[in-house]
């Protein structure tokens, strides 16, 4: 035991420069693979997952960069199921005039773009009106219902 302590003491001076092996800068808070998200509508599955303390994980971002921003569609793993969702608020630093939120908010949707819940409890960025309108494709995906259940825009 004593020998071990001695050896240890001999090693310590060699590793004197105190240096951490992990990064110390502020996180970027990007929405990417395995990011935990917050469901903000009143869909039963989303509510349950949030109450349980197991918020959904992002398992795919439907864009080319792999980093989700406002209006992007994501695939989430929620309560053992795969569901599609739309990002309606980001924690990441945003451009001027675009609101930045304290959490990454999503709304669960079906494949045709209509939301599962009937109400969104948090404010939505008003630029989403334009983004989602542009992304709606006739007879394929339609986000107008999602916009109509919003309570507040900032």
């Amino acid at each position: 035991m004593a020998l071990q302590v001695q050896n240890f003491a001999r090693i310590i001076p060699l590793s004197v420069p105190f240096c951490r092996s992990f990064h110390q800068c502020q996180p970027l808070n990007q929405i990417q693979l395995l990011t935990r998200l917050r469901v903000v509508d009143n869909s039963p599955i989303g509510k349950e997952a949030m109450l349980e303390g197991r918020p959904p994980k992002c398992i795919h971002v439907y864009n080319k960069t792999g980093v989700g921003t406002i209006g992007d569609k994501v695939l989430v793993a929620i309560k053992g199921q795969k569901k599609k969702a739309v990002i309606i608020g980001c924690k990441q630093k945003q451009k001027p005039l675009i609101p930045k939120f304290d959490s990454n908010n999503i709304v669960l949707i079906e494949d045709n773009g209509s939301p599962i819940g009937t109400r969104i409890h948090v404010p939505m960025p008003s630029i989403l009106r334009k983004i989602l309108k542009d992304r709606s494709v006739a007879k394929k995906i339609d986000f107008t219902k999602l916009l109509s259940i919003a309570t507040k825009f900032v």
């Binding site: 608020g89 945003q94 005039l97 675009i98 908010n105 948090v122 404010p123 008003s126 009106r129 334009k130």
Partner: protein
């Protein structure tokens, strides 16, 4: 070449801003350096002396000293590589022109503000946001500030560029300052500290009264935080209730010598002489605009009667 310019400005700036003002003994040492200086510098020095003489004769306009706190965005970015005298001057002209169209009132971090923006997406074409100014920065036309509010229990922040043409109106609902320069810690504070109603009305304020400092101490949520607040020497935060080892580490990584580092201070700030020049250039127009607005406000209610 660049090095020479930097050296020159360094000598002038340091000698004029710090040494001359603070200590007589140091100014003596600056005097002893005079024989080493080049002829150019000497001529510039004499020029500055003439100006000083003008000031004593009250012929040169001098802006009030509080201008550097009221209008910090008129000062250029002190980074040497980004300095460009012409660009700065043009930007100042553009800023004054924009200010003649909309009123950009005096505000500080900690003031509660309302900003109305032209928004083509909303049905009434305008979007108004109320919040507390948590940070302010940038220089020239790129000056910006961040407003924060908690809406429906969701923290929202918006960054506004002060001279953005989309901005229709900037109101200051409550003009005050906080104990800290940057209030980013409100992101980790309890939500009631950054909740402000959208229907809030502007508080009346006496003309030319001192801007009050709000001595409120904010309570933070327990860790994890976005930043290590215990290392930042924050005044407006309640006791953080951390284990002793966090404070010990904060003491280890602290840099208490930086406040004595004259070179660092010089690189981070614009010399006082240059500031005076800039504000002397803009202050007459700023005051004229202010006066015009005051007259308009006085006439407004009388015309209604």
């Amino acid at each position: 070449m660049l090095r020479r310019v930097v050296l020159q400005t360094f000598r002038q700036g340091l000698a004029q801003s710090f040494f001359k003002r603070n200590a007589a003994s140091l100014s003596e040492s600056a005097v002893t350096q005079h024989p080493i200086e080049t002829s150019e510098e000497a001529s510039e020095k004499s020029g500055s002396k003439q100006k000083n003489g003008d000031e004593s004769g009250n012929t040169v306009v001098v802006a009030p000293p509080e201008f550097r706190f009221m209008y910090p965005e008129f000062l250029p970015d002190p980074t040497m590589e980004r300095r460009n005298k012409l660009k700065e001057k043009l930007e100042r002209m553009d800023m004054l022109q924009r200010r003649s169209i909309i009123e950009i009132p005096e505000f500080y971090t900690g003031s509660i503000m309302a900003v109305t923006v032209a928004d083509s997406n909303s049905p009434n074409k305008f979007a108004r946001f109320v919040g507390i100014c948590i940070q302010r920065g940038g220089s020239g036309l790129q000056a910006w500030f961040i407003l924060r509010n908690v809406v429906d229990r969701q923290g929202v922040e918006i960054l506004y560029e002060m001279y953005c043409p989309l901005i229709q109106k900037i109101e200051v609902l409550r003009l005050e300052r906080r104990l800290d320069e940057s209030l980013l810690y409100l992101r980790d504070a309890l939500p009631e500290y950054s909740t402000f109603p959208f229907e809030m009305e502007a508080e009346r304020r006496l003309n030319n009264s001192v801007v009050p400092i709000n001595p409120i101490k904010v309570k933070l949520r327990p860790r994890p935080w976005l930043e290590r607040w215990e290392r930042q020497n924050l005044q407006g935060v309640e006791d953080l209730n951390l284990p002793q080892r966090y404070y010990d580490r904060a003491k280890e990584v602290a840099k208490p010598w930086e406040k004595y580092d004259l070179m660092l201070q010089y690189r981070k700030t614009i010399p006082a002489e240059e500031q005076e020049k800039i504000y002397a250039e803009v202050h007459s127009q700023l005051q004229q605009q202010d006066l015009k607005r005051k007259i308009k406000r006085r006439r407004g209610p009388s015309s209604e009667q």
